[in-house]
Amino acid sequence: MKKKDLLDKWLNGELTPEEFEVFRTIPEFSSFIKIDSFVREVELPRHDVESGLEDLAARKSHLTTRQKPKLIKLATVLKIAAALTLLAATYLFVSNYEIGTTTEFTQTELYQLPDNSRVFLNENSKIELKGFNWKNNRLVDFHGEGFFEVQKGSSFTVQTARGSVTVLGTKFNVVSNQFGLEVSCYEGLVRVDQDDISIELPAGRSITLEGGNLDLDDLHTLEPGWIHNESRFDDRPILQVISVLEDEYGLTASTENIDVNLRFTGGFPNDDLVAALQAITVPFELNYTIENKDAITIFNTKDSE
């Protein structure tokens, strides 16, 4: 066996007793043994496992406490806040966004609602409704005069300054102006609410709420007259009739010596001023003058008795 192999075996502690006898004959043997005996006695660090573990535990806790605190950056908070604010603002804007239309003097308009219900607005009228999610809460704010054709569905409410009309059926006319609230139901059933009064109005009936008075009347037509460019009145005060005339023709009407208690039943066309004036004045034996296209005067020539 070669010297190198013997040395390998010795270093690995694998020499057999016979091989050891050979190994001890090599010239370096005594040197190797002496070096080995010293090296085996080298002073090593005294490694105490338990105190090492304690030290380790201390280092680990130091490590975790140093890494643990999670900082939420101000920028992150601001980003979240900005996103929430934007969402809230969008919601407020969308949910309060109102659509609608307004008619001027002598102008009528057919307005289509999101559920395909239709409103014919007479002049000087205004309709407003929420643009968002309206179909689930059919409520319109209304002023003036309008004829409603309501599609079937959930309840439909017309809110006016003087009360509200809730649709239980289909076609009805609403007049809300300085004199009061007048509702005519042409088809189906509507409910009229004013303060604590609640009245269900069937087809062919109209209701007038004027001051503290309540009037129920029959209807004789299937649609309001103004739809056909006519203004119709049923036992209305003369001043209200004149006010409608002013609206329809866009002029100022002065009155002289007129009994304000006169009440008018009938109609006048909305496209013929002379005919309209005659329709109003003739029954009461009144006279009129047309000053210019913006002003008329209605007066009584007879001295009141």
Partner: protein, 169 residues
């Protein structure tokens, strides 16, 4: 059926420390000859094991620790001369021997210490792992990431160099 336990478990990790840290301490000590530094490196290496416990299962812990310790040692700024001391108290009975003999022994120890400090770091580590720790070529090769043949060569070279240096004087 059970998968190998995670190094992240406190008991597993502590038993790894009990099993591996003494030899690891000596390994670093052979390289640096510095008592305190060898302790610090061992502790650092185990902290790194703890931080990577999810990736290093117990079976891989040993080679991980030796590699990390070696890197930590190489990263230390200054490498001092490694001066080892040999225990004399064991030779108690020999104290009654002649003073001449004692002097020779002391002198031999100093010469051997000098000679060891002049070995290359690679030779010294392999040699001391073999002679002091009693590790065989195979294990030394694993620890150092070299072949068994290369491990044997380093030890042979170390031994030859020591003998030459000691006998020359």
């Amino acid at each position: 059926m059970n998968k190998e336990e995670s190094s992240c478990k406190e008991e597993v990790f502590n038993s790894l420390y009990r099993e591996l840290s003494p030899a690891l301490r000596n390994f670093i000590f052979f390289k640096s000859g510095d008592n305190d530094q060898s302790f610090d490196i061992v502790q650092e290496a185990f902290i790194k094991l703890w931080n990577n416990c999810g990736k290093v299962p117990p079976s891989k812990a040993k080679s991980f620790l030796y590699t990390v310790s070696n890197n930590l040692f190489l990263n230390t700024v200054s490498h001092r001369k490694v001066v080892l001391k040999f225990r004399k108290d064991k030779k108690q009975e020999l104290n009654e021997q002649s003073p001449q003999f004692l002097l020779e022994e002391k002198e031999f120890g100093e010469r051997l210490s000098d000679a060891i400090s002049e070995l290359t770091e690679m030779q010294r580590t392999a040699f001391l792992l073999n002679r002091v720790e009693g590790k065989k070529y195979k294990e030394i090769a694993e620890i150092l990431g070299i072949s068994e043949k290369a491990a044997g060569k380093r030890i042979h070279d170390a031994l030859a160099a020591l003998r030459t240096k000691i006998e020359k004087i």
